[in-house]
């Protein structure tokens, strides 16, 4: 028997007892009229109590039933995705059910809103993740080193170039204090100062040139650092307020090569200027001497004229060679490639050089065999290079000496080798590595012959830069020198 039923029985007994008590105390004629004794009165009270207990039981049962329905109702409503419309409960619980239903409906709406927001956030997260990967890819595609530090001077972002230049491991170094990541104290100070907005940096940006050791040699870096604005509007623009930076972006560019080129250009300009002034000095001085009548006789005058002519030719060669080298280096030279027969070209060069060799009593011998093969090259340029080598050999070989030009073909490597050998003064070992440099002249050779110091550089430019060949030299002072250039054979040779 349930608690409700026991309660109803209890209520019936209590009502019976109270009714019996009420009747026994009442001595009015109405009750007396009923003519009942005490037993009868108790029976009546019992019946009445039983009825009341029954009624109570029925009411409690109904109430319990409705309460269960309400609970069921609420549990249905609690399901956020429920579309059911439950039957409202009776027993006056409908208003309560309505209030609950309204609350639940409101909760359900909030729940749906939150679900939508969650989905939106998930999408945004995926987009942000994709953007982060994209940003990383963009950063890593930049050859300059880029690193970003946050408001606590910790490494927030760095590309591969930064890791290479500054020698750290990105995966280990992220979120670590910058002074634990970068060894270079002055760079760390620069970044920290920029974050703190030290007034020395107008516009909160700094641009410095810095030298760092890397791979055992000193590199020159151009470093730009800039504070990152917090995005808060302060009327001065983000990142311009000294106290408003949330981090620092550092961009490091290796300008070592640019600096070397700039220095080289400056050296070349200086050398060209020096080399042009030298013959010009002689020309100017000897002309002035002639005008002032300082040449005392016809022989002296003739000597002066010869010197002026020689120095003028030297100046002219210097300008021609300089221009040719500059054009080749700048890539603006017009290269007219054609099938060139090297033996025929060598023969022409020997013919042109023969009078000069004879005048100096030097035997110039063409030892090339008449084998048919060709190279695909600019004929005039290769001719010029051959002439320069023959000219040098004749210049630096004493009277009675011998200059031989020969050709060799390597059919396996598909190359032709042209060799110019002399038994002249030779080149000291210390000079050999510099021989093809611009304006380089062997000191001991300056007294033997005039030169611009550009002829061999032009040979190298023509053979190596323009034609992809190779120039080399072997030499021994007092014994002689052999210059060799090689060129790739034409495909149909």
């Amino acid at each position: 028997m349930s608690v409700g039923k026991w309660l109803s029985v209890g209520v019936g007994i209590v009502v019976t007892l109270l009714t019996a008590l009420f009747i026994s105390l009442d001595s009015t004629p109405t009750v007396s009229f009923l003519g009942t004794g005490p037993l009868m009165q108790f029976a009546i009270a019992g019946i009445f109590g039983g009825l009341v207990g029954l009624a109570h039981y029925m009411v409690i049962s109904r109430f319990n039933s409705e309460l269960r329905r309400l609970m069921n109702h609420v549990s249905i409503l609690a399901r956020a995705d429920s579309r059911e419309l439950p039957v409202p409960p009776g027993m006056g619980l409908a208003p309560l059910a309505q209030v609950i239903e309204q609350s639940m409906s409101s909760l359900r709406e909030r729940c749906q809103t939150l679900v939508a927001k969650r989905r939106e956030l998930e999408i945004q997260l995926r987009i942000a993740e994709a953007e982060r990967r994209h940003t990383e890819a963009v950063l890593n595609s930049i050859t300059d080193a880029v690193l970003v530090t946050d408001a606590f001077n910790e490494l927030a972002l760095a590309n591969n170039a930064a890791a290479t230049v500054l020698g750290f491991d990105t995966s280990y170094s992220l979120r670590r204090p910058i002074d634990q990541v970068i060894d270079d104290r002055s760079l760390v100070k620069l970044i920290k100062d920029t974050l703190e907005g030290v007034p020395a940096a107008p516009g909160h940006r700094r641009h410095v040139e810095h030298r760092l050791q890397r791979d055992g040699r000193e590199h020159v870096y151009d470093i730009k650092v800039a504070g990152i604005g917090s995005g808060r509007s302060n009327g001065r623009g983000a990142g311009t307020d000294g106290n408003d930076s949330v981090g620092v972006v550092t961009v490091i560019r290796d300008v070592t090569r640019e600096r070397e080129i700039a220095e080289m250009k400056s050296d070349i300009v200086s050398s060209v200027s020096h080399e042009l002034r030298t013959p010009l000095s002689s020309i100017k001085a000897y002309i002035e001497m002639l005008i002032d009548g300082e040449a005392q006789d016809e022989q002296a005058r003739a000597e002066f004229y010869n010197i002026i002519q020689g120095e003028t030719n030297r100046l002219s060669r210097l300008i021609d060679n300089s221009l040719n080298i500059s054009r080749i280096e700048a890539g603006v030279v017009r290269v007219q490639r054609e099938q060139v027969s090297i033996p025929s070209l060598v023969r022409d060069a020997v013919d042109v050089m023969q009078p000069q060799a004879r005048a100096r009593n030097i035997e110039l011998k063409d030892a090339s065999s008449p084998v048919y093969f060709q190279v695909f090259a600019d004929k005039d340029m290769i001719y010029q290079a051959t002439l320069n080598l023959l000219g040098n050999a004749v210049k630096y070989t004493p009277s009675g000496g011998k200059v031989t030009i020969s050709i060799e073909v390597d059919e396996i490597d598909r190359k032709v080798y042209v060799r110019v050998a002399d038994n002249g003064v030779g080149i000291p070992a210390d000079d050999l590595p510099h021989l093809f440099e611009k304006f380089y002249r062997v000191d001991q050779h300056k007294r033997l012959a005039q030169g611009t110091g550009l002829g061999l550089n032009l040979v190298k430019q023509i053979i190596e830069t323009v034609h992809g060949g190779k120039v080399s030299v072997v030499s021994e002072p007092g014994i002689g020198s052999t210059f060799t250039y090689s060129l790739p054979l034409a495909d149909n040779s």
Binding site: V269, S270, S273, H274, R277, T278, L280, S281, S282, I283, K284, A285, Y286, E288, M289, D292, E294, I307, E311, D443, K446, R447
Partner: protein, 129 residues
């Protein structure tokens, strides 16, 4: 009685320059000795103690500047004055010049007359004929 001709040392690796400067000075009555590089120039200066040295800047083995520095450091030659000829398009560093007795720098191309006038001014001697 013959007067002692002032001795001038000319140092240059360009033979034509050596020739023309020497000729101009000899024609003006100076005695001239020559050298083709800094090392040779230093040796000549020590042995002959010329009244003035005319030197090129850029030369093999030892530059004109190095030679002049070495001459100033040497007690035998530390009072010898020099006139420098240079084909370099920029001025020489003052600190380097202060370590020498270079009293004047002339740029190439030069005028032999101009050199002669400078030599006469520095030696305090007019041409002896």
């Amino acid at each position: 009685m013959t007067e002692q001709k002032p001795l001038i040392l000319v140092v240059d690796d360009e033979t034509h320059i050596l020739h023309v400067v020497s000729l101009k000075l000899r024609n003006a009555g100076f005695e001239v000795i020559t050298a083709e590089n800094g090392e040779e120039g230093f040796d000549q200066a020590v042995s002959h103690l010329p009244q003035l040295i005319i030197t090129d800047f850029q030369m093999p083995f030892m530059s004109g500047l190095e030679m002049c520095q070495k001459l100033k450091e040497d007690p035998r030659t530390n009072e010898l004055r020099a006139l420098m000829l240079t084909a370099r398009g920029f001025s020489l560093p003052t600190e380097a010049l202060q370590k020498t007795n270079i009293v004047n720098v002339l740029s190439k191309p030069f005028s032999p007359k101009e050199i002669l006038a400078k030599v006469q001014e520095l030696t305090g001697m007019k041409a002896l004929t």
